[in-house]
Protein backbone atom coordinates (compact mmCIF):
# COMPACT_ATOMS: atom_id res chain seq x y z
CA UNK A 1 0.00 0.00 0.00
CA UNK A 2 2.76 2.43 0.96
CA UNK A 3 4.57 1.58 -2.26
CA UNK A 4 1.44 2.36 -4.24
CA UNK A 5 1.04 5.72 -2.56
CA UNK A 6 4.77 6.39 -2.80
CA UNK A 7 4.66 5.46 -6.46
CA UNK A 8 1.66 7.70 -6.96
CA UNK A 9 3.34 10.67 -5.32
CA UNK A 10 6.56 10.05 -7.25
CA UNK A 11 4.59 9.69 -10.47
CA UNK A 12 2.68 12.89 -9.74
CA UNK A 13 5.95 14.67 -8.99
CA UNK A 14 7.44 13.55 -12.29
CA UNK A 15 4.27 14.43 -14.17
CA UNK A 16 4.20 17.90 -12.58
CA UNK A 17 7.81 18.47 -13.57
CA UNK A 18 7.15 17.31 -17.17
CA UNK A 19 4.04 19.50 -17.30
CA UNK A 20 6.16 22.46 -16.22
CA UNK A 21 8.66 21.66 -18.99
CA UNK A 22 5.82 21.65 -21.56
CA UNK A 23 4.60 25.01 -20.20
CA UNK A 24 8.06 26.59 -20.41
CA UNK A 25 8.64 25.15 -23.92
CA UNK A 26 5.28 26.56 -24.99
CA UNK A 27 6.28 30.03 -23.77
CA UNK A 28 9.61 29.64 -25.60
CA UNK A 29 7.66 28.55 -28.68
CA UNK A 30 5.52 31.69 -28.47
CA UNK A 31 8.70 33.81 -28.50
CA UNK A 32 9.95 31.81 -31.50
CA UNK A 33 6.56 32.54 -33.15
CA UNK A 34 6.03 28.75 -33.58
CA UNK A 35 3.08 27.31 -35.45
CA UNK A 36 2.22 27.56 -39.15
CA UNK A 37 0.86 30.75 -40.72
CA UNK A 38 -2.89 30.97 -40.40
CA UNK A 39 -2.92 28.22 -37.73
CA UNK A 40 -3.71 30.78 -35.00
CA UNK A 41 -6.79 31.97 -36.93
CA UNK A 42 -7.88 28.36 -37.49
CA UNK A 43 -7.52 27.65 -33.76
CA UNK A 44 -9.36 30.86 -32.79
CA UNK A 45 -12.26 29.56 -34.91
CA UNK A 46 -11.94 26.00 -33.60
CA UNK A 47 -11.89 27.06 -29.94
CA UNK A 48 -14.08 30.18 -30.19
CA UNK A 49 -16.90 29.70 -32.67
CA UNK A 50 -17.37 26.02 -31.98
CA UNK A 51 -17.68 26.62 -28.22
CA UNK A 52 -19.90 29.73 -28.41
CA UNK A 53 -23.26 27.88 -28.50
CA UNK A 54 -22.04 25.42 -25.85
CA UNK A 55 -20.99 28.23 -23.49
CA UNK A 56 -24.16 30.29 -24.04
CA UNK A 57 -26.42 27.29 -23.38
CA UNK A 58 -24.60 25.95 -20.31
CA UNK A 59 -23.95 29.31 -18.69
CA UNK A 60 -27.45 30.46 -19.45
CA UNK A 61 -28.84 27.58 -17.43
CA UNK A 62 -26.32 28.12 -14.61
CA UNK A 63 -27.24 31.83 -14.48
CA UNK A 64 -30.94 31.06 -14.16
CA UNK A 65 -30.38 28.44 -11.45
CA UNK A 66 -28.02 30.64 -9.40
CA UNK A 67 -30.37 33.63 -9.48
CA UNK A 68 -33.29 31.37 -8.55
CA UNK A 69 -31.40 29.87 -5.60
CA UNK A 70 -30.08 33.27 -4.44
CA UNK A 71 -33.59 34.74 -4.40
CA UNK A 72 -34.98 31.56 -2.83
CA UNK A 73 -32.33 31.69 -0.08
CA UNK A 74 -32.82 35.40 0.60
CA UNK A 75 -36.58 34.86 0.62
CA UNK A 76 -36.16 32.65 3.68
CA UNK A 77 -34.28 35.33 5.62
CA UNK A 78 -34.95 38.92 4.63
CA UNK A 79 -37.14 38.89 1.51
CA UNK A 80 -35.24 41.99 0.37
CA UNK A 81 -34.16 41.37 -3.23
CA UNK A 82 -32.67 44.81 -3.82
CA UNK A 83 -29.06 43.64 -3.46
CA UNK A 84 -29.38 40.38 -5.41
CA UNK A 85 -28.63 41.72 -8.89
CA UNK A 86 -25.74 43.93 -7.84
CA UNK A 87 -24.06 41.17 -5.83
CA UNK A 88 -24.71 38.65 -8.59
CA UNK A 89 -22.89 40.65 -11.31
CA UNK A 90 -20.04 41.38 -8.86
CA UNK A 91 -19.63 37.65 -8.25
CA UNK A 92 -19.92 36.88 -11.96
CA UNK A 93 -17.22 39.39 -12.92
CA UNK A 94 -14.86 38.54 -10.09
CA UNK A 95 -15.29 34.73 -10.25
CA UNK A 96 -18.21 32.80 -11.75
CA UNK A 97 -17.91 34.30 -15.26
CA UNK A 98 -14.32 33.25 -16.01
CA UNK A 99 -14.32 30.17 -13.73
CA UNK A 100 -17.49 28.48 -14.94
CA UNK A 101 -16.70 29.39 -18.56
CA UNK A 102 -13.25 27.85 -18.11
CA UNK A 103 -14.72 24.74 -16.42
CA UNK A 104 -16.89 24.22 -19.51
CA UNK A 105 -13.98 24.94 -21.87
CA UNK A 106 -11.78 22.50 -19.96
CA UNK A 107 -14.40 19.90 -20.82
CA UNK A 108 -14.95 20.82 -24.46
CA UNK A 109 -11.65 22.37 -25.61
CA UNK A 110 -9.39 20.37 -23.28
CA UNK A 111 -10.88 17.07 -24.41
CA UNK A 112 -10.75 18.21 -28.07
CA UNK A 113 -7.06 19.16 -27.98
CA UNK A 114 -6.07 16.00 -26.09
CA UNK A 115 -8.09 13.84 -28.48
CA UNK A 116 -6.51 15.47 -31.54
CA UNK A 117 -2.90 15.45 -30.31
CA UNK A 118 -3.37 12.04 -28.63
CA UNK A 119 -4.55 10.38 -31.85
CA UNK A 120 -1.70 12.06 -33.74
CA UNK A 121 0.73 10.59 -31.18
CA UNK A 122 -0.59 7.01 -31.37
CA UNK A 123 -0.67 7.09 -35.21
CA UNK A 124 2.97 8.31 -35.17
CA UNK A 125 2.13 11.68 -36.78
CA UNK A 126 4.11 13.40 -34.00
CA UNK A 127 7.17 11.36 -35.04
CA UNK A 128 6.45 12.29 -38.67
CA UNK A 129 6.54 15.99 -37.65
CA UNK A 130 9.85 15.44 -35.86
CA UNK A 131 11.25 13.72 -39.00
CA UNK A 132 10.78 17.04 -40.82
CA UNK A 133 12.72 18.82 -38.07
CA UNK A 134 9.56 20.38 -36.56
CA UNK A 135 9.18 20.86 -32.78
CA UNK A 136 5.75 19.36 -31.92
CA UNK A 137 5.13 21.83 -29.04
CA UNK A 138 5.84 24.81 -31.32
CA UNK A 139 3.75 23.46 -34.19
CA UNK A 140 0.76 22.09 -32.25
CA UNK A 141 0.52 23.62 -28.77
CA UNK A 142 1.61 27.24 -29.34
CA UNK A 143 -1.25 28.22 -31.70
CA UNK A 144 -3.81 26.53 -29.40
CA UNK A 145 -2.21 28.21 -26.36
CA UNK A 146 -2.58 31.74 -27.77
CA UNK A 147 -6.03 31.09 -29.24
CA UNK A 148 -7.26 29.59 -25.96
CA UNK A 149 -6.06 32.54 -23.87
CA UNK A 150 -7.80 35.06 -26.17
CA UNK A 151 -10.97 33.01 -26.54
CA UNK A 152 -11.31 32.10 -22.84
CA UNK A 153 -11.31 35.81 -21.97
CA UNK A 154 -13.78 36.68 -24.75
CA UNK A 155 -16.08 33.78 -23.86
CA UNK A 156 -15.86 34.68 -20.16
CA UNK A 157 -17.29 38.11 -20.94
CA UNK A 158 -20.01 36.67 -23.18
CA UNK A 159 -20.74 33.86 -20.70
CA UNK A 160 -20.87 36.30 -17.79
CA UNK A 161 -23.34 38.60 -19.57
CA UNK A 162 -25.50 35.61 -20.59
CA UNK A 163 -25.53 34.42 -16.96
CA UNK A 164 -26.49 37.87 -15.73
CA UNK A 165 -29.21 38.30 -18.34
CA UNK A 166 -30.68 34.84 -17.73
CA UNK A 167 -30.49 35.42 -13.98
CA UNK A 168 -32.38 38.68 -14.36
CA UNK A 169 -35.15 36.99 -16.35
CA UNK A 170 -35.54 34.29 -13.69
CA UNK A 171 -35.58 36.79 -10.82
CA UNK A 172 -38.24 38.83 -12.60
CA UNK A 173 -40.31 35.79 -13.67
CA UNK A 174 -40.21 33.81 -10.40
CA UNK A 175 -39.73 36.48 -7.77
CA UNK A 176 -41.03 39.64 -9.43
CA UNK A 177 -37.73 41.46 -9.07
CA UNK A 178 -37.84 44.66 -11.14
CA UNK A 179 -35.20 44.48 -13.90
CA UNK A 180 -34.01 48.03 -13.22
CA UNK A 181 -33.22 47.00 -9.63
CA UNK A 182 -31.62 43.69 -10.69
CA UNK A 183 -29.42 44.96 -13.53
CA UNK A 184 -27.29 47.18 -11.25
CA UNK A 185 -23.61 47.37 -12.27
CA UNK A 186 -22.80 49.81 -9.48
CA UNK A 187 -21.02 47.24 -7.32
CA UNK A 188 -18.51 46.27 -10.01
CA UNK A 189 -15.14 47.88 -9.24
CA UNK A 190 -12.12 48.09 -11.62
CA UNK A 191 -10.35 45.50 -9.46
CA UNK A 192 -13.12 42.99 -10.24
CA UNK A 193 -12.50 43.53 -13.96
CA UNK A 194 -8.74 43.06 -13.45
CA UNK A 195 -9.48 39.87 -11.52
CA UNK A 196 -11.61 38.61 -14.41
CA UNK A 197 -8.82 39.25 -16.92
CA UNK A 198 -6.22 37.55 -14.71
CA UNK A 199 -8.43 34.51 -14.20
CA UNK A 200 -9.54 34.36 -17.85
CA UNK A 201 -5.95 34.45 -19.14
CA UNK A 202 -4.67 32.05 -16.47
CA UNK A 203 -7.36 29.48 -17.23
CA UNK A 204 -6.97 30.03 -20.99
CA UNK A 205 -3.25 29.28 -20.65
CA UNK A 206 -3.62 26.26 -18.36
CA UNK A 207 -6.22 24.30 -20.36
CA UNK A 208 -4.31 23.83 -23.66
CA UNK A 209 -0.98 23.19 -21.91
CA UNK A 210 -2.51 20.46 -19.73
CA UNK A 211 -4.42 19.02 -22.71
CA UNK A 212 -1.38 19.14 -25.03
CA UNK A 213 0.76 17.54 -22.33
CA UNK A 214 -1.73 14.68 -21.94
CA UNK A 215 -1.98 14.26 -25.71
CA UNK A 216 1.79 14.06 -26.16
CA UNK A 217 1.99 11.38 -23.44
CA UNK A 218 -0.61 9.07 -25.05
CA UNK A 219 0.80 5.54 -25.56
CA UNK A 220 -0.49 2.29 -27.06
CA UNK A 221 -3.27 2.62 -29.59
CA UNK A 222 -6.86 3.77 -29.24
CA UNK A 223 -6.98 3.18 -25.48
CA UNK A 224 -4.06 5.62 -25.21
CA UNK A 225 -6.18 8.32 -26.85
CA UNK A 226 -9.00 7.55 -24.41
CA UNK A 227 -6.63 7.92 -21.45
CA UNK A 228 -5.22 11.22 -22.78
CA UNK A 229 -8.68 12.75 -23.27
CA UNK A 230 -9.83 11.71 -19.78
CA UNK A 231 -6.65 13.01 -18.14
CA UNK A 232 -6.99 16.35 -20.00
CA UNK A 233 -10.57 16.91 -18.85
CA UNK A 234 -9.68 16.15 -15.23
CA UNK A 235 -6.34 17.98 -15.36
CA UNK A 236 -7.89 21.04 -17.00
CA UNK A 237 -10.90 21.26 -14.66
CA UNK A 238 -8.70 20.70 -11.63
CA UNK A 239 -6.20 23.36 -12.78
CA UNK A 240 -9.10 25.81 -13.13
CA UNK A 241 -10.39 25.09 -9.60
CA UNK A 242 -6.90 25.38 -8.04
CA UNK A 243 -6.05 28.57 -9.98
CA UNK A 244 -9.43 30.03 -8.97
CA UNK A 245 -8.74 29.26 -5.32
CA UNK A 246 -5.17 30.66 -5.43
CA UNK A 247 -6.11 33.84 -7.31
CA UNK A 248 -9.27 34.47 -5.24
CA UNK A 249 -7.40 33.90 -1.96
CA UNK A 250 -4.57 36.21 -3.09
CA UNK A 251 -7.07 38.91 -4.14
CA UNK A 252 -8.89 38.55 -0.83
CA UNK A 253 -5.57 38.92 0.99
CA UNK A 254 -4.35 41.91 -1.09
CA UNK A 255 -7.59 43.86 -0.81
CA UNK A 256 -7.89 43.24 2.92
CA UNK A 257 -11.01 41.21 2.43
CA UNK A 258 -13.47 43.79 1.06
CA UNK A 259 -13.36 42.29 -2.40
Amino acid sequence: MIARIGGGVLGAGRAARELWIVYVSTLAGVLRRGGARGELVRQLHAIGNKSLLFIVVTLGFIGMVMAYEACNQLGRITGDYSQVGGQFIRLIVSDFGPTLTAMMLATRVGAGIAAEIGSMKVTEQIDALRMSGVLPIDYLIVPRFLASMIMTLVLSVIGGLVMFGAGGLTAEHSFGVNPNVFYDFGQVRPRHLILMCIKGLAYGAAIPVVAGFCGLRARGSSEGVGWATTAAVIGGSFAVIVLDFVISAAALFLTGGDL
Partner: protein, 259 residues
Protein backbone atom coordinates in the same frame (compact mmCIF):
# COMPACT_ATOMS: atom_id res chain seq x y z
CA UNK B 1 35.98 -2.42 -45.08
CA UNK B 2 34.85 0.11 -47.73
CA UNK B 3 36.99 3.22 -48.00
CA UNK B 4 34.08 5.60 -47.30
CA UNK B 5 32.89 5.73 -43.66
CA UNK B 6 29.65 3.76 -42.97
CA UNK B 7 26.36 5.66 -43.34
CA UNK B 8 25.17 4.13 -40.05
CA UNK B 9 27.18 2.68 -37.14
CA UNK B 10 25.56 1.27 -33.98
CA UNK B 11 28.04 0.32 -31.21
CA UNK B 12 26.78 -1.89 -28.32
CA UNK B 13 23.40 -0.11 -28.27
CA UNK B 14 20.98 -1.03 -25.44
CA UNK B 15 17.39 0.13 -24.89
CA UNK B 16 14.86 -0.83 -22.23
CA UNK B 17 11.14 -0.12 -21.75
CA UNK B 18 10.29 -0.33 -18.03
CA UNK B 19 11.54 -3.72 -16.77
CA UNK B 20 12.10 -5.27 -20.22
CA UNK B 21 15.39 -4.90 -22.09
CA UNK B 22 14.33 -4.60 -25.75
CA UNK B 23 17.87 -4.25 -27.20
CA UNK B 24 20.72 -5.89 -25.29
CA UNK B 25 23.93 -4.64 -26.97
CA UNK B 26 23.45 -4.25 -30.76
CA UNK B 27 26.47 -3.47 -32.96
CA UNK B 28 25.80 -2.88 -36.66
CA UNK B 29 27.26 -1.03 -39.63
CA UNK B 30 25.55 -0.15 -42.92
CA UNK B 31 27.63 1.05 -45.89
CA UNK B 32 26.35 4.05 -47.90
CA UNK B 33 23.98 3.06 -50.74
CA UNK B 34 23.51 -0.49 -49.43
CA UNK B 35 20.12 -1.99 -48.40
CA UNK B 36 19.73 -3.94 -45.14
CA UNK B 37 16.62 -5.90 -44.12
CA UNK B 38 15.76 -6.55 -40.44
CA UNK B 39 13.66 -9.64 -39.57
CA UNK B 40 12.78 -11.46 -36.36
CA UNK B 41 9.81 -12.53 -34.20
CA UNK B 42 7.29 -9.93 -33.02
CA UNK B 43 8.62 -7.30 -30.58
CA UNK B 44 12.24 -8.39 -31.00
CA UNK B 45 13.28 -4.72 -31.23
CA UNK B 46 13.29 -4.34 -35.04
CA UNK B 47 11.22 -1.14 -35.12
CA UNK B 48 13.10 0.24 -32.09
CA UNK B 49 16.35 0.13 -34.10
CA UNK B 50 14.68 2.22 -36.83
CA UNK B 51 13.49 4.76 -34.25
CA UNK B 52 17.00 4.95 -32.72
CA UNK B 53 18.61 5.50 -36.15
CA UNK B 54 16.01 8.23 -36.91
CA UNK B 55 16.80 9.88 -33.56
CA UNK B 56 13.14 9.54 -32.50
CA UNK B 57 14.24 7.50 -29.45
CA UNK B 58 17.33 7.79 -27.22
CA UNK B 59 19.54 4.74 -26.54
CA UNK B 60 20.17 3.88 -22.85
CA UNK B 61 23.73 2.73 -23.65
CA UNK B 62 26.10 2.68 -26.63
CA UNK B 63 26.65 5.01 -29.58
CA UNK B 64 24.38 5.71 -32.58
CA UNK B 65 26.31 7.33 -35.42
CA UNK B 66 24.10 8.34 -38.40
CA UNK B 67 25.33 10.15 -41.56
CA UNK B 68 28.45 11.26 -39.68
CA UNK B 69 26.67 12.64 -36.60
CA UNK B 70 26.55 11.04 -33.14
CA UNK B 71 22.87 11.13 -32.02
CA UNK B 72 23.05 9.89 -28.40
CA UNK B 73 22.63 12.84 -26.00
CA UNK B 74 21.82 15.42 -28.70
CA UNK B 75 18.99 17.96 -28.14
CA UNK B 76 15.77 17.83 -30.18
CA UNK B 77 16.76 20.81 -32.38
CA UNK B 78 20.12 19.27 -33.37
CA UNK B 79 18.44 15.91 -34.02
CA UNK B 80 15.98 17.79 -36.26
CA UNK B 81 18.82 18.80 -38.60
CA UNK B 82 19.94 15.15 -39.05
CA UNK B 83 16.38 13.88 -39.45
CA UNK B 84 15.84 16.21 -42.42
CA UNK B 85 18.38 14.06 -44.31
CA UNK B 86 16.39 10.90 -43.48
CA UNK B 87 13.09 9.72 -45.04
CA UNK B 88 10.84 7.40 -43.03
CA UNK B 89 7.80 5.29 -43.99
CA UNK B 90 5.83 4.53 -40.80
CA UNK B 91 3.95 1.24 -40.31
CA UNK B 92 0.53 2.85 -39.84
CA UNK B 93 1.24 5.56 -42.48
CA UNK B 94 1.45 8.55 -39.97
CA UNK B 95 -0.10 10.81 -42.62
CA UNK B 96 -1.23 14.22 -41.31
CA UNK B 97 -5.01 13.92 -41.19
CA UNK B 98 -5.36 17.72 -41.18
CA UNK B 99 -3.60 18.11 -44.56
CA UNK B 100 -4.49 17.03 -48.11
CA UNK B 101 -2.42 14.45 -50.03
CA UNK B 102 -0.49 17.22 -51.80
CA UNK B 103 0.25 19.17 -48.61
CA UNK B 104 1.35 15.94 -46.85
CA UNK B 105 3.97 15.22 -49.50
CA UNK B 106 5.11 18.86 -49.64
CA UNK B 107 5.46 19.14 -45.84
CA UNK B 108 9.12 17.94 -45.51
CA UNK B 109 10.27 20.32 -48.24
CA UNK B 110 8.37 23.28 -46.78
CA UNK B 111 9.87 22.69 -43.32
CA UNK B 112 13.40 22.23 -44.66
CA UNK B 113 13.21 25.57 -46.55
CA UNK B 114 15.57 26.69 -49.29
CA UNK B 115 13.11 25.84 -52.11
CA UNK B 116 10.64 28.15 -53.90
CA UNK B 117 6.94 27.28 -53.83
CA UNK B 118 7.11 26.55 -57.56
CA UNK B 119 9.98 24.07 -57.22
CA UNK B 120 8.19 22.34 -54.33
CA UNK B 121 4.98 22.05 -56.41
CA UNK B 122 6.77 20.45 -59.38
CA UNK B 123 8.71 18.09 -57.08
CA UNK B 124 5.49 16.98 -55.33
CA UNK B 125 3.65 16.49 -58.64
CA UNK B 126 6.52 14.33 -59.91
CA UNK B 127 6.49 12.20 -56.75
CA UNK B 128 2.70 11.70 -56.85
CA UNK B 129 2.95 10.64 -60.52
CA UNK B 130 5.74 8.16 -59.61
CA UNK B 131 3.47 6.44 -57.06
CA UNK B 132 0.44 6.60 -59.38
CA UNK B 133 -1.57 9.12 -57.35
CA UNK B 134 -1.77 11.97 -59.86
CA UNK B 135 -5.31 13.37 -59.58
CA UNK B 136 -5.71 12.71 -55.84
CA UNK B 137 -3.82 15.87 -54.80
CA UNK B 138 -6.76 17.53 -53.00
CA UNK B 139 -8.16 14.48 -51.20
CA UNK B 140 -7.92 14.34 -47.41
CA UNK B 141 -5.90 11.32 -46.26
CA UNK B 142 -8.88 9.99 -44.31
CA UNK B 143 -10.73 9.21 -47.54
CA UNK B 144 -7.99 6.95 -48.99
CA UNK B 145 -7.75 3.12 -49.03
CA UNK B 146 -4.90 1.39 -47.12
CA UNK B 147 -2.85 0.90 -50.31
CA UNK B 148 -3.25 4.54 -51.36
CA UNK B 149 -2.25 5.77 -47.89
CA UNK B 150 0.85 3.56 -48.15
CA UNK B 151 1.79 5.18 -51.47
CA UNK B 152 1.30 8.72 -50.10
CA UNK B 153 3.63 7.67 -47.25
CA UNK B 154 6.20 6.47 -49.79
CA UNK B 155 5.93 9.73 -51.79
CA UNK B 156 6.43 11.77 -48.59
CA UNK B 157 9.37 9.60 -47.40
CA UNK B 158 11.17 10.00 -50.75
CA UNK B 159 10.23 13.58 -51.77
CA UNK B 160 13.35 15.17 -50.24
CA UNK B 161 15.79 12.71 -51.89
CA UNK B 162 17.03 11.71 -48.44
CA UNK B 163 20.47 10.06 -48.12
CA UNK B 164 18.94 7.42 -45.80
CA UNK B 165 15.43 5.94 -46.05
CA UNK B 166 13.87 3.80 -43.29
CA UNK B 167 10.87 1.50 -44.02
CA UNK B 168 8.84 0.11 -41.06
CA UNK B 169 6.81 -2.95 -42.29
CA UNK B 170 6.15 -1.35 -45.72
CA UNK B 171 3.86 -4.21 -46.85
CA UNK B 172 2.26 -5.38 -43.56
CA UNK B 173 -1.02 -7.25 -44.18
CA UNK B 174 -0.95 -6.85 -47.99
CA UNK B 175 -1.47 -9.74 -50.46
CA UNK B 176 1.52 -10.99 -52.53
CA UNK B 177 0.64 -9.04 -55.73
CA UNK B 178 0.06 -5.69 -53.97
CA UNK B 179 3.19 -6.34 -51.88
CA UNK B 180 5.28 -6.76 -55.03
CA UNK B 181 3.84 -3.56 -56.54
CA UNK B 182 4.90 -1.65 -53.40
CA UNK B 183 8.42 -3.12 -53.50
CA UNK B 184 8.66 -2.19 -57.21
CA UNK B 185 8.06 1.45 -56.21
CA UNK B 186 10.67 1.29 -53.43
CA UNK B 187 13.26 -0.32 -55.71
CA UNK B 188 12.69 2.25 -58.50
CA UNK B 189 13.19 5.11 -56.06
CA UNK B 190 16.29 3.61 -54.45
CA UNK B 191 17.84 3.00 -57.88
CA UNK B 192 17.33 6.71 -58.66
CA UNK B 193 18.66 8.21 -55.40
CA UNK B 194 21.21 5.48 -54.42
CA UNK B 195 20.08 6.16 -50.83
CA UNK B 196 21.06 3.83 -47.96
CA UNK B 197 18.04 1.76 -46.88
CA UNK B 198 16.99 -0.17 -43.75
CA UNK B 199 13.68 -2.07 -44.08
CA UNK B 200 11.86 -3.99 -41.32
CA UNK B 201 9.36 -6.70 -42.35
CA UNK B 202 7.81 -10.01 -41.24
CA UNK B 203 7.21 -11.01 -44.92
CA UNK B 204 10.73 -12.43 -45.41
CA UNK B 205 10.30 -13.77 -48.97
CA UNK B 206 9.17 -10.41 -50.44
CA UNK B 207 11.74 -8.47 -48.39
CA UNK B 208 14.59 -10.68 -49.67
CA UNK B 209 13.87 -9.56 -53.26
CA UNK B 210 14.37 -5.88 -52.29
CA UNK B 211 17.39 -5.80 -49.92
CA UNK B 212 21.06 -6.91 -50.33
CA UNK B 213 21.58 -8.27 -46.79
CA UNK B 214 19.26 -9.46 -44.01
CA UNK B 215 19.95 -9.35 -40.26
CA UNK B 216 18.04 -11.58 -37.82
CA UNK B 217 17.09 -10.12 -34.43
CA UNK B 218 16.06 -12.42 -31.56
CA UNK B 219 15.34 -11.36 -27.96
CA UNK B 220 17.26 -8.11 -28.31
CA UNK B 221 20.41 -9.54 -29.90
CA UNK B 222 21.69 -9.61 -33.48
CA UNK B 223 21.93 -13.37 -34.08
CA UNK B 224 22.85 -13.53 -37.79
CA UNK B 225 23.58 -11.30 -40.77
CA UNK B 226 24.04 -12.54 -44.32
CA UNK B 227 23.13 -12.14 -48.00
CA UNK B 228 19.38 -11.86 -48.63
CA UNK B 229 19.32 -14.29 -51.56
CA UNK B 230 20.38 -17.28 -49.42
CA UNK B 231 18.55 -16.37 -46.18
CA UNK B 232 16.37 -19.52 -46.34
CA UNK B 233 19.55 -21.68 -46.19
CA UNK B 234 21.35 -19.59 -43.58
CA UNK B 235 23.92 -21.56 -41.52
CA UNK B 236 22.15 -20.57 -38.26
CA UNK B 237 19.41 -23.17 -37.41
CA UNK B 238 17.18 -20.52 -35.73
CA UNK B 239 17.18 -18.35 -38.86
CA UNK B 240 16.37 -21.34 -41.07
CA UNK B 241 13.48 -22.37 -38.81
CA UNK B 242 12.14 -18.79 -38.75
CA UNK B 243 12.39 -18.12 -42.50
CA UNK B 244 10.96 -21.50 -43.49
CA UNK B 245 8.27 -21.33 -40.78
CA UNK B 246 9.10 -24.79 -39.47
CA UNK B 247 7.20 -25.78 -36.32
CA UNK B 248 10.02 -27.70 -34.65
CA UNK B 249 13.32 -26.00 -33.93
CA UNK B 250 15.28 -23.93 -31.40
CA UNK B 251 12.83 -20.95 -31.55
CA UNK B 252 10.42 -21.17 -28.60
CA UNK B 253 7.18 -19.16 -28.29
CA UNK B 254 8.27 -15.59 -27.89
CA UNK B 255 6.56 -13.78 -25.00
CA UNK B 256 6.16 -10.03 -25.21
CA UNK B 257 5.52 -7.87 -22.17
CA UNK B 258 3.31 -4.88 -22.95
CA UNK B 259 5.78 -2.05 -23.45
Amino acid sequence: MSVTSPAIRLADVAKRYGRREILAGISLEVAPGSRLGLIGPAASGKSVILKLVAGLEQADRGRVDVLGTELVGKREVELGRVRRRIGMLFQNYALFDFLTVERNVAFPLEQRGGMSAGDIATRVAERLRAVGLAGSEHKLTGELSGGMKKRVGIARATVADAELVLYDEPTAGLDPVTTQKIYDLLAADQARTKATVIAVSSDVVALASFVDEIAFLYQGKLIYRGPAATIADAPDPMVRQFVRGELEGPLEDVRTEAS
